[in-house]
């Protein structure tokens, strides 16, 4: 198969960027939404569906169209500790080649919320995301596993002075993870992401009601930056990823998101992709059964 290594590397990057576990993350007045390309800093009970489309470059200058439908379920063990399981079904089409499609490897994750500061709307979690080699289809899933210890942080700016009140609805989140592969010939990578959010519900309810009506009063415009920097092998130092502007619409029991995926550099692709999310808060839909911590 042409460019098998490129595709494997890209698949690795894509898989590691796919969010593994989302949360109903509350710090003081702040609710961090479940962002799409970068995992939020909280732990929670939730079910997430995402569809993504993007074109990825091959070595010879041609490109492959990648469609991916992913599902992820996160379950709290205690109120601070959650495990998650997920996978995705991927189709890769490139001109002149047969279409490659199948189920990707099973992703397993564990995440622990270390610290929450309600006054400063700050949240910190640590976790490990993993992809279990050989659990997906031969065409899509790699035969090696990856493990990514990751730090997740979020900060809302509701603690700014009133002179800067229009910035109070702003929040940033970030993730930083070092990815290791079980196959020593596969390069390691640092997966890093950032989001910049402006919460219109926060503006309306806590800063100044500017008279927005639904659905705009429930919207959170967001820019996500999801990147992977190769740290070993011949790709060492190379960074690929996407910059995703979009919007998240939040309701009581779930949220819907839509983002463009803009390749961050030419190695990351050409043309704008898309990411669509539907996300259910199980802690709110089933608060007395599957939506509450086991302990």
């Amino acid at each position: 198969m042409r460019n098998a290594l490129t595709r494997a590397a890209f698949g690795l990057a894509m898989a590691s960027l796919a969010p593994l576990g989302h949360a109903h993350a509350i710090a003081g007045d702040r609710v961090f939404p479940a962002t799409m390309a970068v995992d939020d800093p909280g732990v929670g009970d939730e079910l997430d569906f995402q569809f993504g489309h993007i074109r990825t470059p091959n070595d010879d200058g041609s490109s492959t169209s990648v469609n991916s439908t992913s599902v992820n379920y996160a379950k709290t063990i205690t109120s601070n500790l959650a495990i998650s399981v997920g996978t995705n079904y991927t189709t890769q089409r490139s001109a002149g080649d047969p279409t490659v499609k199948g189920l990707d490897n099973l992703g397993l994750g564990i995440k622990y919320m270390v610290y929450v500061n309600p006054v400063h709307e700050f949240m910190l979690s640590v976790g490990v995301d993993s992809d279990i080699g050989g659990t997906g289809s031969k065409a899509i899933g790699s035969n090696y596993s990856t493990y990514t210890p990751t730090i997740y942080a979020g900060k809302g700016f509701g603690d700014l002075p009133d002179a800067l009140r229009w910035l109070k609805p702003v929040a940033i989140t970030g993730t930083l993870g070092q990815q290791y592969a079980s196959n020593s010939s596969v390069p390691n990578a640092v997966n890093w992401g950032m989001t910049l959010q402006y919460s219109l519900p926060y503006l309306q309810s806590f800063v100044k009601n500017i008279g927005l009506s639904k659905p705009f009063a429930n919207m959170i415009p967001v820019i996500e930056v999801a990147m992977s920097t190769c740290t070993s092998g011949s790709c060492s130092g190379h960074t690929t990823g996407t910059i995703n502007p979009g919007v998240i619409w939040e309701s009581r029991l779930g949220q819907i998101g839509l983002e463009a995926q803009i390749p961050a550099n030419s190695a990351s692709g050409h043309g704008v992709g898309v990411l669509v999310q539907t996300h259910f808060f199980f802690d709110d839909i089933f608060p007395r059964s599957v939506g509450k911590p086991i302990f």
């Binding site: 569809f51 996978t87 079904y89 029991l253 839909i285």
Partner: protein, 129 residues
């Protein structure tokens, strides 16, 4: 193997999946959740004549024993002399009566505990002219 079939089905008809999901979000009616304010009086950031009460209506029923609403002045001193009450019929509105307030900036702080114990909080300011 059921799941595997579901994934490929989801892939083939992802648009209907998304539509279905939107429907689910919109239609699950009687669950409980993290209560968020739907309407507030006075509204956040407004400049108004002295209000006689603060009234917030949430999108969820509240547990009155654990929910609270306090109004304080710029020095942080509580200005409401009575406790906030949760409306007995809908359980969704929390309100507190206010004494005559002089012109100043005031802060509302609320804690809303939904029926299932989920807790949310919020704070905002209004100005009496």
């Amino acid at each position: 193997m059921k799941n595997f079939r579901f994934f490929s089905l989801a892939f083939r008809s992802r648009l209907s999946l998304i539509a279905f999901s939107i429907l689910c979000v919109a239609s699950i009616g009687q669950a409980f959740a993290h209560a968020q304010p739907e309407t507030q009086s006075p509204m956040a950031g407004t400049v108004i004549k002295a209000p006689t009460e603060v009234r917030i209506t949430y999108d969820e029923a509240l547990e009155s024993a654990f929910s609270s609403l306090v109004v304080s002045d710029a020095q942080g001193k509580q200005v409401n002399n009575v406790k906030a009450e949760v409306d007995g019929a809908t359980h969704k509105t929390m309100h507190v009566s206010l004494p005559a307030l002089p012109a100043a900036v005031y802060q509302v702080k609320w804690v809303a505990v939904a029926d299932d114990g989920h807790r949310t909080q919020g704070s905002y300011k209004f100005t009496v002219k």
